[in-house]
Amino acid sequence: MTAQRSSFRSRLSESRGFLSFGFMLPAAALLLVFLTYPLGLGVWLGFTDARIGRPGIFIGLENYEYLWDDSVFWLSVFNTLLYTISASILKFVLGLWLALILNENLPFKTFFRAAVLLPWVVPTVLSAIAFWWIYDSQFSIISWALMELGLIDSRINFLGDPTNARASVIAANVWRGIPFVAITLLAGLQTIPQSLYEAATLDGASRWQLFRYVTLPLLTPIIAITMTFSVLFTFTDFQLIYVLTRGGPVNATHLMATLSFQRGISGGLLGEGAAIAVAMIPFLLAAILFSYFGLQRRRWQQGGGD
């Protein structure tokens, strides 16, 4: 019996599958505790009328039914999509442009590469406070400069007008997000072998053709990863909005994340707050699938058309 048990043990310890499973256990446990459980709890809370200070009871889809009919929620969905799409496109275009410039042999190249990272290194709340001053309805340096130059007669109402407020928070997000895109794409650019450019140049390729048929296809995997993360960060942005506008004016800059916080934490309606957060999941999945798989198309990567 003992011999049987020890041989079973020794066989188990030599089994690669069992060992692999054992090595994965700590990571799996961490994921379970810190990711799966909170996510599961969030989904569950969305089906309850939980409130701060009181565990909820199951109410089915009532939170979602209310949100379906809630104009502020739909406004936050619109704002989130507008914010994410506009900011992501701008971050990609400007980030790629910056990466291409930094990939050239410029004087003080290292200094510029380090300087570009600054907006990303500064804590979000600090840069948000800086923007809060820049956009202040009374003390904006932009308004002051334009008035001094005689270009405008009165101060710009950056955060008080809904359209201006949306544009302002998008601009602030773009300023913060460009370095991440630029540096990641620059890292990708530097992995492209120089010999490919030389060969293409010998074939008489123009600069645009070099970019279109060499740089872009070889950079797409990096672009896909970078933009997936960028879209994720932008879609779930909270700090910038919270500091700048708290969702105002009249909810014109409320994102789903800030509305979820306002209803769930400040308002104490945990169930409804969780439902708003859960409602973000389909949008997030769609955004990830689009940016990841959409950019990974093989034909495009191989230089073909769509």
């Binding site: 409130r51 701060i52 200070g53 009181r54 565990p55 209310y66 809630d70 104009s71 502020v72 202040d136 309805s137 009374q138 003390f139 009165s154 101060r155 109402n157 950056f158 955060l159 008080g160 007008d161 809904p162 407020a165 506008t245 708290r246 969702g247 105002g248 004016p249 009249v250 909810n251 306002q262 209803r263 934490i265 400040s266 308002g267 104490g268 309606l269």
Partner: protein, 441 residues
């Protein structure tokens, strides 16, 4: 709020005591009724409070706490949290049954978890009896079903802060007392280039204070006595129409203002009239020696209560803080003894004075604190507890009242209408719909 016979007797006694002077207060005749709480063996306490806005408040609170420790041997650790973090922290402590023994919470927080709080009715009744009775407004935030679930600690006043010379320049020898006169003043102030500005943005304090004053001063209310949403009314319509007229006279940008914007613009000389806590005036006063411009502003600042609307009386939200003891504390007697000590005359008067007009007494017996007469500009804040209404007026306090205010239902209603994003009727109906969600129709 209903008056009981006992309240009337107490209030009368308090007014009489106030008239006779504070020597009567705390006399042996009252002291013999004092409840005695013997702290438990080895008791230590933890208090979590909001971060102070006036340094004197904290200094005085800590000094009084040390006096309590010296007298009883009970160590008290005082921790601070930012304004917004108080509500979730208190709720988590109540839910989990672990955390600080005592907390200073805001508004109707105590009504979110009343069954998790120690009943302090004996203490509440004793203090009310001894010090002239509680003001109705603050008491409303601490009494549920006739029981004290906390002790109303202070009302943080909100008042009109204005530049006297500019008001005179606009042709007004004194600040108007009613809403009609106030509108005329704001029009005149705009004409001379020193406009008014009130927060229409998501400013937790200023935005809510202004919106509630607009509504209540015109006789509107979010809900009726039974908790039924009553925002869709002719009175609300009047309030919105008045807000629209007033808004036309404002400095641009008030839709985006948070709590700090009006102070900043006012102290930079951009504005002639704001509504704020005493901190705006205090900032100018404290810094007047280092900044000649602020010295000039401080000299020119006057304060007064917000104008009286068609309802014919001062009605405002202000901001209220309540001291609660969680019932999970292993040292309930020590906690009660601590609160009793902090509310007694010597400590409370010292704390109110240290707060420099920021914290208004909730017990009528402390209304004669010298801080209110020390500087004429403090006087407007002395009546905060007297003029305040609980945010859930006229209905019961609880989850719904807290959520309705936290979701800026009222602030958004006025903001949508004044900015032209909705007609007054549409704005009112939207507010009704949102409020109905919280009041569960």
């Amino acid at each position: 709020m209903k008056f009981t016979r006992r309240d009337v007797i107490r209030t009368t006694a308090g007014v009489a005591a106030g008239a006779i002077g504070s020597r009567l207060i705390g006399s042996p005749a009252f002291a013999q009724d004092a409840p005695k709480y013997t702290p438990e063996q080895g008791a230590t306490l933890r208090l979590l409070r909001w971060s102070p806005f006036v340094q004197g408040d904290e200094d005085s609170w800590l000094a009084n706490t040390k006096k309590f420790t010296d007298a009883t041997g009970v160590q008290v650790r005082v921790d601070k949290e930012s304004w917004e973090d108080i509500r979730p922290k208190a709720a988590v402590a109540a839910n989990v049954g672990s955390g600080p023994d005592l907390m200073l919470v805001w508004f109707d927080d105590a009504f979110q978890y009343p069954d998790k709080l120690l009943d302090v009715t004996d203490l509440g009744e004793y203090l009310g009896g001894k010090y002239g009775g509680w003001y109705d407004g603050p008491k409303g935030y601490a009494v549920k079903d006739g029981k004290f679930i906390g002790l109303p600690l202070a009302a943080i006043g909100n008042a009109i802060v204005y530049r006297d010379s500019w008001v005179k320049e606009a042709g007004f020898s004194e600040f108007p007392k009613d809403t009609a006169g106030f509108l005329e003043l704001c029009k005149a102030m705009q004409k001379i280039g020193h406009p008014a500005g009130f927060t229409h943005g998501h400013g937790v304090g200023d935005g809510n204070n202004y919106a509630h004053w607009l509504l209540w001063s015109h006789g509107g209310k979010m809900v009726d006595e039974s908790g039924k949403v009553a925002i869709n009314s002719p009175e609300t319509m009047k309030a919105i129409e008045y807000a629209m007229e007033l808004y036309k006279t404002f400095i641009p940008g008030t839709e985006s203002w948070l709590d700090v914007n009006n102070n900043r613009a006012f102290l930079a000389g951009e504005l002639g009239i704001i509504a704020n806590g005493i901190s705006a005036y205090n900032t100018a006063k404290i810094n007047k020696d280092n900044d000649p411009k602020l010295a000039e502003i401080a000299k020119d600042i006057r304060t007064t209560n917000l104008p009286i609307g068609p309802v014919g009386q001062s009605v405002e939200l202000h901001q209220t803080t309540v001291a609660v003891i969680f019932n999970y504390t292993p040292y309930p007697n020590a906690a009660k003894a601590y609160l009793q000590f902090m509310f007694e005359e010597a400590q409370m008067n010292d704390w109110i004075k240290g707060s420099a007009g920021y914290c208004c007494q909730t017990l009528k017996g402390f209304a004669n604190n010298p801080i209110w007469s020390e500087d004429p500009n403090n006087a407007a804040y002395a009546r905060a507890s007297e003029t305040l209404r609980p945010n859930g007026y006229a209905g019961p306090l609880g989850y719904a009242s807290a959520a309705t205010m936290a979701d800026y239902v009222l602030v958004d209603m006025f903001a949508r209408a004044v900015t032209g994003q909705a007609t007054p009727q549409e704005a009112m109906e939207e507010a009704e719909k949102r409020a109905n969600r919280y009041y569960r129709v």
